[in-house]
């Protein structure tokens, strides 16, 4: 949520610099050139309301939260005390660690499900390809709340799977799929799968079939062709998508709240508690800053991978 704001400000800033340059050049410029620089100015003024809006609505609150994390709420003096409290308490670190670990699990699950799914889709006849991708994309269109509650219908104690298992006599008591990390894992994987499958599918379609044919004529087995030619060619996209999935899962709130039943607090749920229950804005700000730094670092890696890939 913080990302769009900071992302937008990059090009905007450079445009401001460019506009300033044009003003300096205007005195000596030929008329045609002046018209061009005027247009730059016009553009700048047209964009100004939006720039102000972005700064006011997105950037200032973030800076404000960052300021809270290093200032005393009463005196306003700068302090690292909140960070020290944060580090001293094992509870926060444990929740952050659990969030990271669960995000890793979700990322691994989306890779294990998504890679074969994308690969299978590329092998289908074009018509079926559209159907399969359509099914993957459909999950984008269903509200995350509806999808999350749907998992209760499927995985709950009286849900479809448990009833089926008991009817078949496989188990005598319902298995607890929900209100633990497993339930959250299932729900989050479901939501995040398209973010991995769609880019991967596109990358796999771009792989030149002749590379695989030539590898075969050179004597390579199917196993080797896949692991030494096909897989490495899709690896940059896989890595970039996996990072994206990881970043997104760090901030999940609804799915852990519903499918975790409040028993498995993650970072977002913890912040909710800190702010709404305990009114500890400073600690919440510290957690936000930590999360933001981690997210931005990962986002930098993601961008780097994307550019390297392009």
């Amino acid at each position: 949520m913080t990302l769009p704001g900071s992302y937008e400000s990059g090009p905007v800033a450079s445009q401001t610099v460019a506009a300033a340059h044009d003003v300096a050049a205007e005195a000596t410029a030929v008329p045609a050139r002046r018209r061009a620089s005027l247009r730059q100015w016009e553009l700048f003024f047209l964009l100004l309301p939006m720039l102000l809006l972005i700064v006011l609505i997105f950037d200032l609150p973030i800076l404000n939260a960052a300021y809270w994390s290093i200032s005393d709420p009463k005196t306003g003096a700068l302090t690292l005390g909140h960070f020290r409290d944060f580090l001293d308490s094992t509870a926060y670190l444990r929740i952050i660690w659990r969030t990271f670990f669960l995000s890793l699990e979700v990322t691994a699950a989306t890779i294990l499900l998504g890679y074969p799914l994308a690969y299978w889709a590329t092998k289908l006849p074009p018509r079926w390809r559209i159907v399969v991708l359509g099914l993957v994309v459909t999950t984008f269109w269903v509200s995350i709340l509806v999808r999350t509650y749907a998992w209760i219908v499927i995985l709950g104690s009286a849900g479809l799977i448990n009833r089926l298992l008991m009817w078949a006599g496989v188990v005598s008591r319902p298995i607890e799929f929900l209100y633990n990390e497993f339930g959250i894992l299932v729900g989050m994987t479901n939501v995040l799968l398209p973010f991995l499958v769609l880019p991967l599918f596109a990358a796999m379609m771009r792989v030149d079939m002749r590379l695989l044919q030539v590898a075969e004529t050179l004597g390579a087995s199917r196993f080797r062709i896949f692991w030494q030619v096909f897989f490495p060619l899709t690896l940059p996209t896989l890595a970039a998508s996996a990072i994206l999935v990881f970043i997104l899962s760090l901030g999940f709130y609804i799915t852990p709240a519903v499918l975790g039943g409040g028993r498995v607090p993650l970072v977002a749920n913890m912040m909710d508690l800190l702010i709404n229950r305990f009114a500890r804005w400073e600690t919440a700000a510290v957690v936000s800053v930590v999360l933001m730094v981690v997210t931005l670092s990962l986002y930098a890696v993601y961008q780097w991978l994307r550019e390297k890939n392009a």
């Binding site: 030149d208 044919q213 030539v214 075969e216 004529t217 050179l218 004597g219 390579a220 030619v229």
Partner: protein, 371 residues
Amino acid sequence: MTNVRFTHVTKAYGPLRAIDDVSISVKSGEFTTVLGPSGSGKTTMLSLIAGITRPTSGRIDLGDREITFVPAAERNIGLVFQSYALFPHMSIFDNVAFPLRVRGMGAAELSRRVGEALRLVRLEGLRQRKPHQLSGGQQQRVALARAIVFEPAILLLDEPLAALDRKLREEVRLEIRELQRKLGITTIMVTHDQEEALSLSDQVVLLSKGRVEQVGAPDEIYHRPSTRFAADFLGMANFIEGSYHEGHIVSPDGERFPCAPTNIAHGARVCGLLRPEDIRAGGEGGHLAGIVRDVVFLGETVRYLIELKSGRRLTANVAGARGRHVAGAGVSLSWDPKRVWILPDNSDRIPADGNAAVTERRTEKVSVVGR
């Protein structure tokens, strides 16, 4: 002794026969070119040899081993695609080492062999580069090194020069030929460029509509084509139709074209081929008189379009005769009667795809002659 043999091979895609009952054989150590217009089935033929596709019927042999249904990976054939198909994520060294690693070769021997192959194509210094850092010509040579490094039984080249610009094309062409001679490797190249086919090969297989039109040495197929299609595809051609009379072909208009005496029955309908470069255009004393209708300067030669009295037009390419005749001038044409080749197969199935295509190919060939 390696050789490739096709026995009644057909490859059908639905109702379309890309390869239609083809039987040919390629001698060991020779350079064979499969030549044909696009859609003639030449790439299908290459895929069949490489094992990328399987024939619908027929049998393919490699040496004394049938390979009709042997998987590509077990055929031991080096393939170079027109698009190079280098592995973009591997260095040049790793690209060339790939077929050796697949065969589980030890590091020392592998390094020696890769070095040798890269030396052959003069790219030793670039072993650590990635393919995208190389020029088109260099990439092509890497693909070549990768295809020969494992000492395959045969080398297949799919339009290897098509993606290069003209100057580079000639350079790489000479290199391929030299390399093939040095290694003595049986090589089969697919191309639509008759000049490439004529200059590189020991044997040319001319394909048309999935069928073999003619097989022969370049000069044989050029000077003694068996069909009109072959004559037309391999260069510019003047066709002289008429009936045979004592060392002459007599056209329906009564014009007499001298040709070498043969044992063809008198009065038989024949079609003779006279290549433009075999015609001399002089002031007088020739076999036939005509008027220059068009003069095209091509550098090494000048091409004249000459109209005979009957209205028939002949094309003559005259070497080093700049400005000798101008349009509208009267000329006298002569030729060595032995240079008139009477087509053994005088059926009219010239074009595989209609007259328009022939005209198109002709203009294309004019430029080729000009080079």
